[in-house]
Point group: C2
Chain length 460, copies 2
């Protein structure tokens, strides 16, 4: 056992419910509960089998706190690999808090830090670091796509491929280091061609993974859509047209909070976050100018920029001005989508759009082409997917490590090309191995683990 203290936390969502679960993990977990649980039938809890459930009274200072179910998980057959007890009690906030307080008051356990159960699971070798991170993603996922991403990552995901390449690299590195021991003798254990081809394969894999990050991150955080358009262009009508049909889906998910500045909407399992902005056009009004600055900033940060245009009142000049304003602020045309609204009122729309900007004519009010819009939004996201779900990177820490590994591979390749001595490029090779190891946690530091697990919720 790595840890000699026992931790405790409320593992279910905060607030009152029918039941709540308090979780204990550590060497003293089972003995502690044995002393404060009077099971029906007077059996001794610590003598019971792992993975069994027992009904009884939780008693502290001769007072019954609750009648509860106690589940036993004996080390190493538990989530953390330690002795684990789960107390399933009545879900009043009073009982939850009193039970936790009383447990801690025995001084035989302490309140767990966020993610500490999963951190112990990782450190006790029950799961890799990417799996542990996937647990946190799984708990916070709000959409089907984000959930599927997390499930895939939990089950290995892209790390299996990397692990294999990494162990080939480790073998290669040992060979090269062996050469160094025989440095006077000019022997070569590691074929440079093999090394080159391995690096090539690795580069290819990493590049694909890096490319998938935009998609993975958008899925995980939700796809941000900046909605630009003059106040009369029909922004809220458009949002309502989109929301109306999907509202059932959004509100079905309990706990989904609608941000005051965002409209959140799940289309085909993908979460879109619509950010409403002021319109952008030439103006001399100072306050309006401020609004435009904010619109531009939203557009620059967004995954997709929708320019909503009133098909009745907008002139070609208005449109061209707006497009050039976007160009001026480096908002990539491929990210932009022009929607001509109120198309039912102007069937002979005659506005010209540059070839490299996608556009669609619709009526938000009469729900013409709303499905086309949804389809195009989803397609834009899926374009970034590049193949199977399994090879998607959604975690910025993984992205960073992959990026560092790739940079180091470039160094290494240029070193090999320049015929630098093998003791120099052996160092680069070790760095590549190090960065790849950071992803799955084969290499880790306390700082790294601290920053990963502190983002977890309590009780996991």
């Amino acid at each position: 056992m790595l840890f000699n203290d026992t931790i405790a936390a409320i593992a279910t969502a905060p607030g009152a419910g029918a039941i709540a679960v308090i979780r204990l993990s550590g060497p003293d977990a089972i003995d502690l509960i044995t002393d404060h649980f009077k099971p029906v039938g007077h059996k001794k809890i610590s003598d019971q089998d792992s993975h069994t459930i027992h009904l009884g009274d939780i008693v502290f200072n001769d007072q019954i706190i609750d009648q509860a179910l106690v589940s036993l998980f004996k080390a190493p057959r538990s989530y953390t690999g330690e002795n684990v007890v789960e107390i399933s009690c009545h879900g009043s906030t009073y009982i939850q808090q009193t039970l936790l307080n009383q447990l801690v008051a025995t001084k035989r356990c302490r309140i767990a830090e966020p993610g500490e159960f999963t951190k112990r699971a990782f450190l006790n070798g029950k799961m890799s670091l990417t799996t542990a991170e996937a647990v946190a993603d799984l708990i916070s996922s709000e959409s089907e796509a984000a959930h599927q991403l997390a499930i895939n990552q939990m089950r290995g995901g892209f790390t299996e491929a990397l692990k294999d390449l990494r162990s080939q690299l480790i073998h290669m590195a040992s060979m090269i280091e062996l050469e160094l021991d025989f440095s006077g003798e000019d022997v070569i254990f590691a074929s440079r061609d093999e090394l080159k081809s391995l690096l090539e394969k690795l580069k290819q894999t990493i590049k694909e993974l890096l490319d998938s990050f935009a998609y993975g991150n958008a899925i995980k955080q939700g796809v941000s859509v900046a909605l630009l358009g003059a106040p009369n262009a029909g922004k809220s009508t458009l949002l309502n047209a989109l929301l109306n049909e999907e509202r059932a889906i959004v509100s079905d998910i309990a706990g989904t909070t609608r941000d005051t500045i965002e409209d959140r909407l799940i289309i085909d399992g993908i979460l879109f976050r619509f950010i409403d902005t002021a319109g952008i056009r030439e103006t001399s009004d100072q306050i309006e100018k401020l609004g435009i600055v904010r619109s531009i900033e939203s557009a620059q940060k967004a995954d997709i920029v929708i320019l909503l245009i009133d098909a009745v009142s907008t002139t070609q000049n208005d449109l061209s001005t707006t497009i050039s304003l976007l160009d001026d602020h480096n908002i990539d045309r491929s990210r932009t989508m022009i929607l001509f609204n109120k198309i039912d009122l102007n069937q002979d729309l005659n506005l010209e759009v540059p070839k490299n900007i996608e556009f669609l004519a619709l009526s938000a009010k009469n729900k013409i082409a709303i499905d086309d819009l949804k389809h195009q939004l989803v397609q834009r996201v899926l374009q970034g997917k590049n193949g199977a779900n399994e090879t998607v990177v959604s975690n910025s820490r993984h992205y960073g490590a992959l990026h560092n590994a790739l940079q180091e591979i470039f160094e290494l390749e240029s070193g090999i090309a320049q015929n630098i001595p093998s003791d120099l490029f052996a160092i680069s090779l070790r760095k590549v191995i190090h960065h790849l190891g950071e992803i799955t946690g084969e290499v880790s530091t306390d700082d790294l683990l601290g920053s990963i697990f502190s983002n977890f919720c309590i009780g996991k």
Copy 2:
């Protein structure tokens, strides 16, 4: 089995947590989960023992929804007395909702109504109606006293004594009804003296229980304290002085919401709800008059009325006017408490208080005598307790049934005194028995059960 359908619900508090529990109960519960759960080690779930826990994947339409723990409870060894399955899944709102939706989509279970698990437990004979009601009270209790009341009620509480008296009454009633069969022969099977003494004992018990309701209800709902006083009397300073020391306790309990018009405070385990009101005094200002009407109404509804008086600026005339205003509105003097604030600024306080109104001099700002105030508040509540916790009625339905039983006993007694024929008072006797039976659920109707269980939370 009384029910042939299977019910399902999320049993933990709404929102995301580390884990969430979905509960299934009914004849198909175990078979349903067997078809959608792939346990580690490929064992067949329905073949496993009751009270065991299994790790595996929850699978619908070949898609893994989550890796979860499944707990089995086989009929009749479960909360409801039916087959019960608890799925302990990762606590994302997406997983909770998807899992529940997929279960329902199989058409082999439906979403449970509020309290339906406990209703089934009652109807399957696993618990009495008072115990079932205590479960709901337990879940919603926010303070130690309310919690203890619910625990006591869950463990039988006052119903044991009543049950015994009720079965004696039933015996008595059968004897009297037997006499009716032999009505021509003038035999007496039931001693009238015994009946009178039984009724006397019952009356005594019921009266004590009815008296305890004010206390029980206050404990359950929280003790309401109307805080009356002019704006400069120091109401918010007083609340802060009370809250400051106790805030830690209040905020320790997660999920405690502070109502906008109430300050909630737990003192010695009892919840007090302070309702701030406008001051009351003679005035011609119309708006101020409205405020006074509202103050009076609050005071009439409150368990305790605190009259906060500025010890520096208040005259004897002001005080007397205020007291007579309370008298005029039938606010019982025994409920009222006068607090002279700012006592540090006026050591020679010389205001006269009627003998039957309790008073206390303090300084909210300098925290003089705040502990005395707390002590007096708690004492006022405990006065109503009248002995042991076990004999406290806190449920207004029980209060109503007891009240009806008592009225019927009065009828019965006067009937016996008037020597009415035994066939007439046998009806009264049956009514007493009926009302007592309503409490524990030995007598129940669908309407009654519907109104009780609809107040439960979902999943219990």
